[in-house]
Symmetry: C2
């Protein structure tokens, strides 16, 4: 990365106005730099910083974290990459100073969940494009405020939902659009990932102020909330399949939670009955099942399952009038196309045939990026959008809609599994908007 490229920067003048000014040009011909601030340099922020530094078009000018170790880690990475005059912000509210800097185009936010919305709002209000780790918000009020603020300021906010870019997901998106499934009828997905070991409780059975990593803040959500608190990795991709907010929308959901056993059992097993955390009362049901209905008549079953022993699975299933795909089985069945009636067919051949243009083009760039390469694409999508001043591939409406499921799910469970009406963050625009995700090989 040369210094001259880094200095070639244009100022941001508000996305809505700017879109017209910057024609849609392909990435390799676009040598503009994105001047970026990074808030949050934990596990996730560190990984993203590494990816930003691998690119030739991101100029990280400022970092923010309340943890001195995190700051040291970030600073070291950046100095090694040749960054000079790095802005460093360490106080509780110092992110507000970062987003006020006049030399930034965008801010990437990789902090604990409850800080996402306040930070994204501050960024937009200061004219900075906001890239936000999942979920973009925790409460419904935050979801609305993000939408309204993005509309008022004309500044985009993109939730960095990387699973939308998983290679098999993008191939299935192609297959959906090619009509292999016929008319879509039903989908399933979820976040089924045992987070008890080496993550929530790292090390051992501590969480909160005594812990490091996500256990420091994430586990606390299991103490105070009961609902699908992490829906976006499943619902993001499914929303792309179903044209959510772009011809279709979620209209209602019900959620049902099991009893709460996993975390307490883990503490007792590994810390003993006398460990202080053995007396913590967790509120989050071990498994939360959410069923969503769409305006076009499809249903989606969404699982949250993070506190029991189990192999990892996002449990995708896509089903239509002509066929079905099941992630866990790595199999498909398409009537009249699959060789044996009523028998699964390996998905592998379809992966090759329907591999997405983005993956074909950027396979080598994605190599070594986090989560099997997905992380490259989601960052690329944001950065290229900023450079072109075009709407990002995941807009504020998707970000709010997917994240809102948590609060709605909590409501439904609190009401005894009562159906909850899904808000329309697009204020009716969903009905005429067209799908826009994954239609090119650019970003």
């Amino acid at each position: 990365m040369t210094h001259s490229r880094r200095d070639f920067v244009r100022s941001t003048t508000g996305a809505a106005a700017a879109v017209a000014g910057f024609p849609h040009i392909i990435r390799k011909q676009d040598d503009r730099m994105v001047r970026m601030g990074l808030i949050g340099i934990g596990d996730r922020g560190t990984g993203t910083l590494r990816l930003m530094l691998r690119r030739g078009d991101v100029d990280v000018r400022a970092i923010c974290d309340i943890d001195p170790d995190a700051i040291a880690r970030g600073r070291e990475q950046l100095i090694e990459a040749g960054v000079e005059n790095l802005g460093v912000y360490t106080g509780e509210e110092s992110y507000r100073e970062l987003v006020e800097r006049e030399d930034l185009d965008a801010v990437l936010i990789a902090t604990p969940w409850r800080l996402h919305a306040p930070m994204a709002l501050a960024a937009m209000r200061n004219g900075k494009w906001a890239a936000v780790e999942v979920p973009v918000a925790v409460t419904l009020e935050e979801c609305w405020e993000l939408v309204e603020t993005s509309e008022e300021t004309g500044i985009p906010c993109m939730m960095m939902e990387n699973v939308c870019y998983r290679r098999d997901i993008m191939a299935v998106l192609n297959m959906v659009r090619e009509g292999l499934f016929g008319e879509l009828i039903h989908a399933q997905c979820g976040y089924q990932h045992d987070l008890r070991f080496g993550f929530k409780f790292r090390p051992g059975v501590e969480f909160g102020e005594n812990a490091r990593g996500p256990a420091r803040w994430r586990t606390q959500h299991s103490v105070t909330r009961n609902g699908d608190i992490y829906p976006t990795h499943g619902i993001g991709p499914v929303s792309q399949f179903l044209d959510i907010n772009r011809g279709n929308r979620f209209v209602t959901l019900t959620s049902t939670a099991t009893k709460t056993r996993g975390l307490h059992q883990h503490i007792v097993d590994h810390g003993g009955r006398d460990h202080p955390n053995a007396s913590v009362e967790f509120k989050l049901g071990d498994i939360v099942t959410t069923v969503l209905s769409c305006s076009r008549g499809e249903t989606v079953v969404l699982m949250h399952d993070t506190n029991l022993p189990r192999p990892y699975s996002l449990g995708f299933r896509v089903q239509g009038t002509k066929g079905i795909w099941q992630d866990d089985l790595r199999s498909v069945y398409f009537e009249g196309r699959s060789p044996r009636p009523h028998r699964w067919e390996e998905a592998r051949g379809y992966q090759e045939t329907f591999d997405h243009a983005l993956w074909k083009r950027y396979t080598s760039d994605a190599e070594g990026a986090g989560h099997g390469g997905m992380d490259f694409f989601v960052l690329n999508g944001f950065v290229e959008s900023v450079k072109r001043r075009v709407p990002p591939p995941i807009d504020v409406y998707q970000s709010a809609t997917w994240s809102a499921i948590s609060a709605l799910s909590e409501q439904s469970i609190a009401l005894g599994n009562h159906p909850v009406v899904f808000p329309d963050f697009t204020a009716g625009k969903w009905a005429t908007a067209s799908p826009d995700f994954g239609f090119s090989d650019e970003f």
Copy 2:
């Protein structure tokens, strides 16, 4: 089968009184005969008749069907087996005469769904043990009437839910009871079976009076009902895992249906847009998702999915604090026991280790019986119970509870996915009753 064995019959005097009189003796030492009437000799009845004739302890004395071909088929089988003086009943209401015969111990009912409850009620009211194909009833009122009638008469009613006896299901039941899963938290199941071809529409796209087989009556349920109209193959086994009605019970459910496309599409594809059936408006959503909550805090996700192209699957999943089983993957994971952390392990080895005593004992008897041998066991369970005058392995409370899901699911969907309270057919007895299914190698 010798004639002398056939004639060795005891009269039924009401099960409740009789249980005390007949000690629990093992099958091979019990040479009593069960005098049986068979109502309904369609596909299912014919298969069951064949199994009854393979046994040495069932004396089929009377048959009933409104279809002359069915009667001819049944009569032929029975004459070939040496039956003399067969009672034959062919009129609409002639089943009432059959159940009034004084020389029958029991009646097996394999008729269209809507006839199950009226026939079972008539049987019990005439002192005949009732074996009923699934579901035992269509409406909630019927479920209640079956329970009340069985209690009043002291005559048992057993729904013939064969999947409770599937070999892997019984091994998993052993594993549940051995504690491999720890405390159970969640289960999934469903009836996911493409019934459009060669079954509902046999041949072609006809149903109702113009059709043969199940298309004659079953498809009509898709015209008039929207709910999980066929829940028992999934929920029966899961209820055994969860001790439903025996220490646990279902307390609430929600159901959500997709739009309705599959059957219409099938008719258009294979009969053309001008076929009279292309104008039929089907009410049943292609996929119905039901989420049940249990008094002990577990949840169950139950799918109904019969009108879209897909490979067959009952989609079982059992999950607890220590591990998980997924039917479709033929895999398990048990923390601390499975060789690789967070990685699936093939279920095969567990099948061998935890194979149920019934299957070990009766493997050769089950060979060639319908549905992979399950049909042998469910019939065996009923016949051996009648011989011993002991409660059948699936009692009237289970039969009513599992079947009631259909009507409750229809209610929930009609109410906009509103949660529906599950009736307690046991009137509180569930709290103190102990599990009783599959505890011996007898039946």
